[in-house]
């Protein structure tokens, strides 16, 4: 489904990704871990198509299509979703209005009928219940004044509504209390299926107890230096990243 090969990317003239290889197949959950500043969010943002991040070498493919040729919205139409590490506040744009616009834009791009207000509301209520998002948040402007945890839940709500085929979750577990963590995991697990895949960026093994990954990767200084099964996360929890160097790739 997703194939990232030898990806190099610059931010503000500084090379952050220095040759990332990652292959994600339908049905799989991949966890990406790594210390602060190692490039995890950069990878996520590059996947979503952020324009001020410069891909200088390598390739990104989704279902064989070159992602670099696609605008951010086209990537979303193709089924890509990024839950932002820092969800953006958008004053003046109502949350549910925004979600409806997004869902209908995606449906339209796919040649499906747009949902009318009633049908959308019904869907939204169901999904909000699934990820335990208070209805009051739906009426407020997107993320504006939301608590850290509410913002993360709102990301998961968007995912649940948009039903992407490939969801990249960038530290969606950070700042969540244990109950919130469980609901987020429930949201992901509810979507898990044969034809969907997830890339879960996290610092904590904790989340991986609820969303059990098929593969775990360690990103260090812009490269994936180690990959393994879910047991790798436990090992990292114990030993930290210090034992890992660029040379010890164990793919």
């Amino acid at each position: 489904m997703l194939r990232v090969s030898d990806l190099h990317a610059k931010v503000e003239e500084q090379e952050i990704l220095k040759g990332v290889d990652l292959e994600v197949n339908a049905g799989e959950v991949h966890a990406v871990m790594g210390p602060n500043g190692s490039g995890k969010s950069t990878l996520a943002q590059v996947l979503a198509g952020r324009e001020d991040y410069d891909v200088t070498a390598g390739s990104l493919e989704l279902d064989g299509d070159d992602l670099q040729e696609m605008a951010p919205e086209e990537r979303a139409h193709a089924g890509l979703f990024l839950a932002f590490q820092y969800p953006v506040e958008i004053p003046g744009v109502g949350n549910s209005y925004f979600l409806k616009a997004a869902l209908n834009a995606i449906r339209k791009a796919r040649g499906e009928d747009e949902l009318d207000a009633m049908d959308f509301l019904q869907l939204l209520r169901k999904r909000a219940e699934l990820v335990d998002v208070d209805e009051a948040l739906l009426r407020r402007p997107v993320n504006e004044g939301f608590s850290g945890g509410e913002k993360k839940r709102n990301e998961i709500l968007q995912m649940a509504v948009l039903e992407p085929r490939l969801a990249v979750l960038d530290e969606t577990d950070s700042g969540l209390d244990i109950d919130a963590l469980k609901t987020v995991a429930a949201g992901v697990n509810a979507l898990r299926s044969e034809d969907r895949a997830f890339v879960v960026i996290t610092h904590y093994q904790r989340l991986l107890n609820y969303i059990v990954p098929d593969h775990v990767h360690v990103l260090l200084d812009g490269r994936i230096v180690r990959s393994g099964g879910s047991e790798l996360a436990l090992e990292l929890e114990e030993k930290g990243y210090t034992g890992l160097t660029n040379g010890s790739s164990g793919v």
């Binding site: 919205e73 953006v88 834009a105």
Partner: protein, 453 residues
């Protein structure tokens, strides 16, 4: 032949000399105003209040009185709100055939004031405030366009709301313009411009409540430019509540230089929203005079401009009595090479203790060549007051744009969503539903490059 600079007042004085008959009481005020105008002349770039307003293109054109033209069927309809009593003016002249003045109040056309009932208060107040000076303060200079209007208006609307009356439906005053096509040239090749002088006087009686909607528009926005020079005076009696909306959707090559004056008595409240979508060279001077203890005025505005449009809002709020409050929120959305000026002055007189004044101007620039100027000013001569002001000039939030697009929303739509979000509070505050919908759709249309319609 030596060209007397384009700033000559002569052609306007000539219009004055040729004006028609008028009530005696008006004659003195007109004479005084036109003398002020003549003495001061048109402002130049050296005039502090006009430094950022380039009048060159207007003053190069030779003014001609707007043509008399009947309204043709349906021309006014798309600007009217169905439920509202209305007074419609075409090129500054009352068009009774499409008007349906309100019953509950006195509403008269100034050209025939006798036709609509008791006109004594009209004549008492007409021109008493916007007399050609920039404000009622002794130190205020001449406002040349207010002076011109006072000297030259041919017609207009006077609305007198009786004491204690509560008028449910907003009253709409529609100022339509349709220059005679094609724009003529005067003898020596200078461009000619048709000019009209809309004049509105609203007198809100004590403890009355009413809403007035003014709409400025072109019958055909593509039919060429014109010069509209309106003055509106609001006299808000003690305890009255007056809402005012000013929708300016003139042709984009029109000149619009207006003056508004609100006079507030004890505990009166005046809430005005000025929404500018049209006009090429636009300047609006608004004076709020808080002349009664406990009075409040809100002067809000929005300008959404593109191309080479220029919009200048000059605000002056004077707190003359204790416990007066004023709020101003002006927002601008500028695209293309559009330019805006916001000049807000809050003036707190020594007697005006416990004044609470707030002024905000926020601008959103959508292009590299758009330019917004913002000059908030406070002049405070009382010591126990709360005054805040602030202005911002910013661009669209790229992070927000990316966030929306990452959810599948097309770039263009994401763009308009964000601009709409910026401006919406100013259109959504309109409480009359058809007005609000109209403002919303105008805002959306101008965001999608539709321009004024």
């Amino acid at each position: 032949m030596t060209v007397v600079s384009g700033r000559s007042t002569a052609p306007y004085l000539d219009l004055y000399a040729r004006r028609g008959a008028e009530p005696e009481v008006l004659r003195a005020r007109r004479q005084e105003a036109i003398e002020r105008f003549e003495a001061a002349g048109f402002p130049t770039g050296r005039d502090e209040e006009w430094r950022q307003t380039n009048l060159g293109s207007l003053l190069r054109a030779a003014p001609a009185a707007a043509s008399r033209r009947p309204l043709q069927g349906g021309e006014a309809a798309r600007f009217l709100y169905p439920d509202c009593p209305r007074m419609v003016f075409m090129n500054g002249r009352y068009a009774p055939e499409v008007s349906s003045p309100p019953r509950q109040v006195t509403a008269v056309a100034l050209a025939e004031p006798g036709a609509g009932g008791d006109t004594e208060p009209v004549l008492e107040h007409l021109g008493a405030y916007a007399s050609g000076r920039a404000s009622c303060s002794a130190d205020a200079g001449v406002h040349p366009f207010a002076a011109l209007n006072t000297g030259l208006f041919e017609d207009g609307a006077a609305i007198v709301i009786p004491d204690g009356a509560v008028v449910e439906q907003p009253l709409q005053v529609l100022w339509l313009n349709a220059p005679a096509a094609p724009a003529a040239e005067s003898g020596d090749g200078t461009p000619a411009v048709e000019v009209s002088f809309p004049r509105l006087l609203v007198i809100a009686g004590e403890n009355s409540q009413a809403s007035v909607i003014e709409t400025f528009a072109a019958v055909d926005p593509k039919a060429g430019g014109y010069f509209v020079c309106p003055v509106s005076e609001f006299v808000c009696g003690a305890g009255s509540v007056l809402h005012h909306t000013r929708l300016q959707a003139d042709a984009t090559d029109a000149f619009h230089l207006g003056f508004q004056h609100a006079q507030l008595e004890r505990s009166a409240s005046f809430d005005s929203s000025s929404l500018a979508f049209g006009g090429g060279l636009v300047r609006n001077d608004t004076v709020g005079l808080l002349d009664g203890e406990g009075s409040h005025c809100t002067l809000d505005g929005l300008y959404v401009i593109d191309g080479s449009q220029f919009v200048d809002n000059h605000m002056r709020v004077e707190h003359r009595q204790p416990h007066t409050t004023s709020h101003q929120l002006y927002k601008g959305v500028l695209d293309g090479r559009a330019r805006s000026v916001f000049n807000g002055r809050i003036y707190v007189h020594q007697a005006a203790q416990k004044t609470d004044a707030k002024q905000t101007n926020r601008n959103l620039l959508l292009s590299k060549s758009a330019l917004a100027n913002s000059n908030p000013q406070l002049e405070i001569f009382a010591d126990d007051v709360r005054c805040t002001h602030g202005s911002t000039i910013g661009r669209l939030d790229e992070e927000a744009l990316f966030y929306l697009r990452s959810r599948g929303i097309e770039r263009e739509q994401a763009h308009s969503m964000l601009v709409y979000a910026f401006a919406r509070e100013l259109v959504e505050k309109a409480s009359h539903e058809p007005l609000r919908q109209d403002l919303e759709s105008r805002l959306l249309a101008s965001l999608n490059g539709g321009g004024p319609r």
